[in-house]
Symmetry: C3
Subunit: 281 residues, 3 copies
Amino acid sequence: MRKHIVLQTDFGLSDGAVSAMYGVALSVDPWLQLFDLTHDIPPFHIWEASYRLYQTIDYWPEDTVFVSVVDPGVGTDRLSVVVKTEKNQYVVTPDNGTLTHIKDSVGIMEARVIDEKVNRLPNSGESYTFHGRDVYIYTAARLASGIITFEEVGPEHDVKDLVLLPLNEMAVKDGVITGNIDILDVRFGNLWTNIDRHVFKEAGIHYGDFLEVTIENNQRHLYKNMIKFGRSFADSRLGEPLLFVNSLDKIGVAINQGSFAKAYHIETGANWKISFRKVEM
Amino acid sequence: MRKHIVLQTDFGLSDGAVSAMYGVALSVDPWLQLFDLTHDIPPFHIWEASYRLYQTIDYWPEDTVFVSVVDPGVGTDRLSVVVKTEKNQYVVTPDNGTLTHIKDSVGIMEARVIDEKVNRLPNSGESYTFHGRDVYIYTAARLASGIITFEEVGPEHDVKDLVLLPLNEMAVKDGVITGNIDILDVRFGNLWTNIDRHVFKEAGIHYGDFLEVTIENNQRHLYKNMIKFGRSFADSRLGEPLLFVNSLDKIGVAINQGSFAKAYHIETGANWKISFRKVEM
Amino acid sequence: MRKHIVLQTDFGLSDGAVSAMYGVALSVDPWLQLFDLTHDIPPFHIWEASYRLYQTIDYWPEDTVFVSVVDPGVGTDRLSVVVKTEKNQYVVTPDNGTLTHIKDSVGIMEARVIDEKVNRLPNSGESYTFHGRDVYIYTAARLASGIITFEEVGPEHDVKDLVLLPLNEMAVKDGVITGNIDILDVRFGNLWTNIDRHVFKEAGIHYGDFLEVTIENNQRHLYKNMIKFGRSFADSRLGEPLLFVNSLDKIGVAINQGSFAKAYHIETGANWKISFRKVEM
C-alpha cells in the first residue's frame, strides 16, 4: 500500500516554509507522495486546524499520515505527538487541541510522544522556532516511508490526556433547536452550524419548511428572520437566504450566490449562537 | 501511458474542500497523479473557468482528465457531463457553459452524461451541495485509472446540445479593429483581448507601429490614447503602456511593470469593448 | 535517483500560467515529480526570489532542479542560464540577480547559457512574453528527465559574470551590531535580519539578555526600545516583542502572536537598518 502525507499549517504559501518541509520529507524518501490540506489556517487558530482535519480525513485512504502545524506554543513544554485513529490514519501535531474534532468524530486508538532525540532532523538542534520542518514533517516522512514504526515514534501517551478544546453543544427545547456557528465555508460566506441533519429530521422539519432563524453574539441579536429549508441551492432564488444540509451532514445557512457572513457580519466560535424554530404558515 | 488529473474550482484553498476531492481520487486509485489548474476562479464565474481551461489544455499531455467545478447550478437539473476533445483529453464538468472555449478552439468529439446511479461516491446520497467531491472527482478518478471506460460514464449526449456562453466577436472595418477584453492576466493587470495576432498582421500592423487604442464600457469611453505595438516588454520604458502578443497569440495591453487594469479601472466581459486604429506618424 | 523539479514564480495561482508550465514539463516526461516553492513572490521582486531559493534549497535532495521565473527583463538581452551548485543542485533562471544568495551561501560550480535553438518548446517561436513556459520549464524538464545533460543546456558561462544584487553588510563596532532587515516572515510579520546567530554569541549576548533595538529607514528612526533575546517564543508573553534565532540561524524580531512589521510599519531592503546594543540591567 502506498502511503500519502497530507500537510496543514498556518504558514501561508508566500515564503519558503512549506517548501522546506516538502524538501525534508523527500530527502527522507524521494518516493513519498505529498499533498496539502490547507496552509491558510488563520495564524494560531487551533480550532480551525482541528475542524479542517475533521472535514477531510474521512475522504483519505487508510494509512494516510496527516501533519498539522498550528503551533502557538512552539518552544514551550507542549508535547509533540503522533496519534493513530480508529480508522488507521495518523496525525502528527503539537498536542494543543488540534485533535479535538478527530477524537470526537473518528476516535483515537493510540498516542505517542515524539522522541526528539531520535526523530529530529539532523543538525537542526539550534533552531527552536520551526518544529514543522525539524520535527513534525521529518517524523511523518520516516513513519510514512516505513523507516520507523508507529511504536518507534516515542513513548506511549494516554489518549485520555490529550489536550482538547471545548466542543460547542446543541440543545432542543420547546421546539427550539439551539447550537453554534462552528466555522465558515470561507470562500462562499456560508455558515456551518454544529447541528446534525438528523436533529432536524427528528424535530419533524422537512425540505420546504420555513424556520425562524436567530443569530446572537454574547446575547446581542444580529439576525432574526424566516428562512426556507431547501434540498439544495436550487430551491431558493438568487440572493435569497436558505438553510441546507452541508457536505458534512450539518445544517448550513447561505445566501444563494451571496455571502451570508459578510451580509450580516457573522463570525464563528463559542460565542456565536444560532437557533431554529419551525413556523407553521 | 500515465494519466493525469487536473483540477479547477472556485472553492479557494482556505478550507478542506479541495483536499477532500484529492482524498476521494486517491481512495479510488492511490497511484493517480493529481494537479491543480487554479482554485481561484471568482465564485460562480463560468466564463473565467471556460477561459482558464482554454489557456492551459494544449500544454497538457493526451489522456489528461480535467475536472472543472464552477457550479452555481448545483442541485438544479443542469447536467453533469464528461467530454472527449478532438485531441483526446477529457473534461469533467457541469454542463453550464464551462466548455465554451474548449469547444470553439479545440473541438469536442463526444459527450456523455454522468450516470450518478453508478458514478457517485458511495454513501454520499444525502449531500446535494458538493458534487465536486461526490460526483465529478470520483468519476474523473475512475476514468483516469481505467476502472471505467469513457462509454461507462453514462449515456451519450449530443455535442450540439452542450450549453455554450456567447463568445465575443471581433470586427475589422474602415481600418478600425474592434474586439473585447476577454480576461485579465490577473497578477500583472494586463488586458487580454479576443483579437488574434494574425488580424494585426493582415491589417499591416508591425512591431514599432503606434495605434490609437479606445476602451469603452457600455458606450462610456474610459481610455483613448496612442500606444506602441512592441515585440516584447523591453520595447517600452518602465511605466509606459504597450501593446504586445500574449502567450495565447492574442493582442494584450499592458503597462511595463505596472497594472493597466488598475490604472484605468478596466474590467472584462461582453460590455468591455476595445478598438485599435493604426496611426501614421 | 529520482529527480524533482521545484518551481518558483511571481505569477500567482489565480490564472493558468503555472498550470501550463506543469503541463509542458509532464509532456516532456509524464513521470516527473513537480513541486512549488512559492508563486507569490511580489511581481518583479528579484531580491525576494533570490532569498526564497536560499531559504529552501538546503532542505531538498541532491539533483533537484529549481526553476525560478521572476523576470522583469523578459524580451531584453538578459541571459537565460542553468547553474549547478556546489551541492549538485540545479537552478534554471533568468540571469538577473536571482542567484545572488545561492552563490553567496551555497556556491555555484558551473553556469551554462540556455541555447534556445535547441531548448525551447516547439512552435512557441512567436511568443516573447512567457519564457517561463516556453524556455525555463521546458529546459528544466529535459534536464531533470535526462533527455539532455547539463552540458547540452548550452555554452558555458563564466560564474564570475553572473549578475548579482548587492548583499547588505553587517558590522560590529563599539558594542553595537548593525545590519539590515533582509526580508519578512510574511504570514507572521516577523523581521528577519542578515545577522547570524554566531555574531550574537561572539558579542557575548546570551538568551535572557536585554538589547536596545533601533530600526531606521533612510536615517529616520522608526523604533528604539529594549527587547529580550529569547530561546523561543515561549520566553516572551503574549503580545510582547522578542529577539530570536530564526529557522535560518539569523536573528529575528517578533511580537509573540502579533505582527512586528505591521505594528511599526517596518519594510525590508537596503535602506532598512537595524542595530542591537547589549544593555546591562
